[in-house]
Amino acid sequence: MSLTVEQVKVRNQALIEEVLEVYPEKTAKRRAKHLNVYEEGKTDCNVKSNIKSIPGVMTIRGCAYAGSKGVVWGPIKDMVHISHGPVGCGQYSWAARRNYYIGTTGVDTFVTMQFTSDFQEKDIVFGGDKKLEKIMDEIEDLFPLNKGITVQSECPIGLIGDDIEAVSKKKSKEFGGKTIVPVRCEGFRGVSQSLGHHIANDTVRDWIFDKSEGKHPEFVSTPYDVSIIGDYNIGGDAWASRILLEEMGLRVIAQWSGDGSIAELENTPKAKLNVLHCYRSMNYISRHMEEKYGIPWVEYNFFGPSKIEASLREIASHFDDKIKEGAERVIAKYKPLMQAVIDKYKPRLAGKTVMLFVGGLRPRHVIGAYEDLGMEVVGTGYEFGHNDDYQRTTHYVKDGTLIYDDVTGYEFEKFVEKVQPDLVGSGIKEKYVFQKMGVPFRQMHSWDYSGPYHGYDGFAIFARDMDMAINNPIWGLTKTPWANS
């Protein structure tokens, strides 16, 4: 009873029309531009993106603070990141993203801690700069091994006219040139997390790169130095990636930013190549390093053996034969493992359909991994993608795929109800909605507390997890046996 591509297109188009009916006219017109059915051969998904979410529709998006503190800066482990403003933002994002790292928390590393200025009414009225100064003093006093401080601005900071740059400069001087980075990532800036990534990238440029030239004279370069950019080490992703790059003969000098340290950031301009996983959140700094330091960058995809293989070759193509041979050696080494994983799980998963809605790179990057298991992604969309993401998506999606940008709660529920995929991959806010509907689900931000999913080691876990979601026996019991009689 499977539909032809043409039938799928007709159904998806009708589905889009149907969901738009619920909206007031003005909203329907705006939302229509974010929904589409992909036509093979087009260089774009033909949806609008990276524009304001509509009030009241239940967007899944977050804010600039989430993009800076939660994504880019938060994982830098040896710095203290102050959630500057009221208590909530830091509280809700406290250790929730699973950016794995190694260190003695509270002593030389601080990722899973919540440092906040806990703004009170008087701070709003009189400004928080004095308090911020004192906070920095107290951090120096109580956490003497910290290697730097960032100020992650919450909404009020930009509204009350605080001068966090002046405070940062003053205190940096006082602390003997310590790195202190003021970040203007107030939640109301931009339309999603995305601007927060950009702002955070820019602060690395302005407050790390520009101030750290010549800082590590002991650093000796090699021709094989690369940096991993845009891997947040969720459940250990960056580790499962690093190991492959090292195995092929490269030297990874920095991780951005999962399990990263400030020294790694500072030394990154010495890399020969930047390898970029999450294009969305870190293309800015990659472009900057290309312009300023002449470091080329290459996007790669470490989800699933097909894409890993292609990516290893692509990365190796920037180096000499030694590395190219190294890549082939790595590919050959893991081939039997990958085959065994596919042999085990593909029979259980082949033909299953998936709908995705995630952030960053995943709405396209994970498609290959599903396909390696014989599964098909029938709908996908980005929380905060831009047009260049949707262009890149065309290399991954099939003809007739349903595309939904900044999907609303209502749309996603209706789409899933009608398309009836075998699996939905999205976030914690969506997880329980679909499980109530009896649809298997995996969180594709946090890996549902599993992982890593990157690299060859990660693919085995990915396959296992998708299998356990889809073939969970409980899905056969959501309906009472007496309902049908």
Binding site: Y23, P24, T27, I54, P55, G56, V57, M58, R61, G62, C63, Y65, V87, G88, Q91, Y92, A96, T105, G106, D108, Q114, S117, E121, D123, L132, K134, E138, I139, L142, P144, L145, E154, P156, L159, I160, G187, F188, R189, Q193, G236, W239, I253, S261, L337, A340, G427, I428, K429, Y432, V433, K436, G438, S450, G451, D457, A460, A463, R464, I474, K479
Partner: protein, 512 residues
């Protein structure tokens, strides 16, 4: 390569394999420019000292690992406790993503809520258009019976006028003329999530009560307060009141929406206090709050309408439940039935059976102010000592009440309450004045890791243990649950500490 398809290694074991350990070592040595191991160890030891504790308690500006959230979270928690109600938070949209995630991570349930998605232009011109469009969209899309508005700190800083905006939106046809849109200002820079609970509930009640004349009836209102155990507790309270034959309205009853079945249907709304009952609640004889510090404004509002108001502090245990039931009995004139008396006897019996294992044990507790009071009272009832009781969102009033409670029992001697302190303070307390057990939310696991104090998870949020919110901690049955939770940890620790063969396992007793 140690990964294999027959037994897949994930993060728990994969990274302990030699190739990864070597990789970590090299990364640290060659690229992290990290502090020497000895220096890290030195500082780590220093953080355990009295000297560090004094510095730590000398903090005036920095907060580290607080045990509180912000107001709108409480407002959202209240809103979903009303029939068909969509919480609408006016301000930046990222906040709403955070509240929804936070509640879903605790309850393992969907959490529906919308934002007016204000951005930079709204910061300059105000969020009126966001309110107009937002209410219209929410009303059309999610077909609520009520939309409960609260605010993020952004909207509060720019001073948006909720009342005016909502009236304006109504005039523009965003929602029908008679459609209820209660509102509350819930600035994140005042109080905490329990303040937001209070403000939002008062906002909803005043929406229905303002301008109405009270006709006193015998029914009573009951409010649970912000409670991670709302599912189990609300059901237990209902059961007890039903057994007594009391006519009651639970206000902000979110026990159904945070516990919906997986039967093929997603229920965006489920259960909740009906709007009719909410309006009629004005006529109640009394309003009873299970958590004083969650309902200060709400209760005084109810009192201005002539209702008797009574509040408890998250009562846990025998005496706490006794007091609750006797108050209900006094107010309603209904007797406490034999079944509850029997349940009481069973709890007393269970405590007597197990008391030897708890008596004299030292505990540290942290959490919301009412929870701390309820748990400390129960611990002292068990003969245990609540040595450190800390509430980040507890104020001076709470401090006085907590100190009085500690002073009321010989088991409170030498015990101290800490208001407005955070979990980094607690870390110092646990190092300098160690206790046997720690009671707190999930974040207490970091304290357990650092100080070795075994954590008993009671509080909010609990992200890393499942389904405990389904079990009550109120009532005699709830007291039994808490007792068993505490005992299980005590016994587990006893076994863990006596299981070395030929060394300590003589005490590895089969009967305890």
């Amino acid at each position: 390569m140690t990964q294999n398809s027959s037994s897949v290694l994930d993060h728990f074991n994969l990274f302990r394999e030699p190739e990864y350990l070597e990789m970590f070592e090299n990364k640290k040595k060659n690229f992290e420019n990290s502090h020497p191991k000895e220096r890290v160890e030195e500082i780590r030891e220093w953080t355990k000292t009295w000297e560090y504790r004094e510095k730590n308690f000398g903090r005036e500006a920095l907060t580290v690992n607080p045990a509180k959230a912000c107001q709108p979270l409480g407002a959202v928690f209240v809103a979903v406790g009303f029939e068909g109600t969509m919480p609408f938070v006016h301000g930046s949209q990222g906040c709403v993503a955070y509240y929804r995630s936070h509640l879903s991570r605790h309850f393992k349930e969907p959490s529906s809520c919308v934002s007016s998605s204000m951005t930079e232009d709204a910061a300059v011109f105000g969020g009126l258009n966001n309110m107009i469009d937002g209410l219209s969209n929410t009303y059309s899309m999610y077909k609520p019976k009520m939309i409960a508005v609260s605010t993020t700190c952004m909207a509060e800083v720019i001073g948006d006028d909720l009342n005016g905006f909502i009236t304006n939106a109504r005039n523009k046809g965003s929602v029908p003329e008679d459609f209820p849109v209660p509102y509350a200002h819930t600035p994140a820079f005042v109080g905490s999530h329990i303040t937001g609970y209070d403000n939002a509930l008062k906002g909803i009640l005043s929406n229905f009560w303002e301008g109405k004349t009270r006709v006193a009836k015998d029914k009573i209102n009951l409010i649970g307060g912000f409670d991670g155990y709302t599912v189990g507790n609300t059901r237990e309270v209902k059961r007890m009141l039903d057994l007594m034959g009391v006519d009651y309205t639970i206000l902000a009853d979110n026990s159904e929406v945070f516990d919906t079945p997986a039967d093929g249907e997603f229920r965006m709304y489920d259960g909740g206090t009906t709007l009719e009952d909410t309006a009629a609640a004005l006529n109640a004889k009394a309003t009873i709050s299970m958590q004083q510090y969650c309902t200060e404004k709400t209760l005084s509002y109810a009192a201005t309408h002539g209702q008797e108001v009574v509040s408890f502090n998250h009562p846990v245990g025998v005496a706490g439940t006794d007091k609750f039931l006797m108050e209900i009995s006094r107010i309603t004139g209904k007797a406490i039935p034999a079944l509850l008396t029997k349940e009481r006897g069973r709890l007393v019996d269970a405590i007597a059976d197990s008391s030897a294992h708890i008596h004299g044990k030292k505990f540290a507790i942290y959490g919301d102010p009412d929870l701390c009071l309820g748990l400390a009272a129960f611990l002292m009832e068990l003969g245990a000592e609540p040595v450190h009781v800390l509430s980040t969102n507890g104020g001076n009033d709470w401090l006085g009440k907590m100190e009085a409670l500690l002073a009321s029992s010989p088991f409170g001697a030498g015990c101290h309450a800490y208001a407005g302190k955070d979990l980094w303070h607690m870390r110092s307390l646990l190092f300098t004045e160690p206790v046997d057990f720690l009671i707190g939310n999930t974040y207490g696991k970091y304290l357990e890791r650092d100080t070795g104090t075994p954590l008993i998870r009671i509080g909010f949020p609990v992200f890393d243990r499942h389904h405990h919110h389904r079990y009550p901690v109120w009532g005699y049955q709830g007291g039994m649950n808490v007792l068993v939770t505490v005992l299980d940890k005590i016994f587990d620790e006893m076994d863990k500490n006596t299981n070395i063969p030929a060394k300590s396992d003589y005490s590895f007793d089969i009967i305890r």
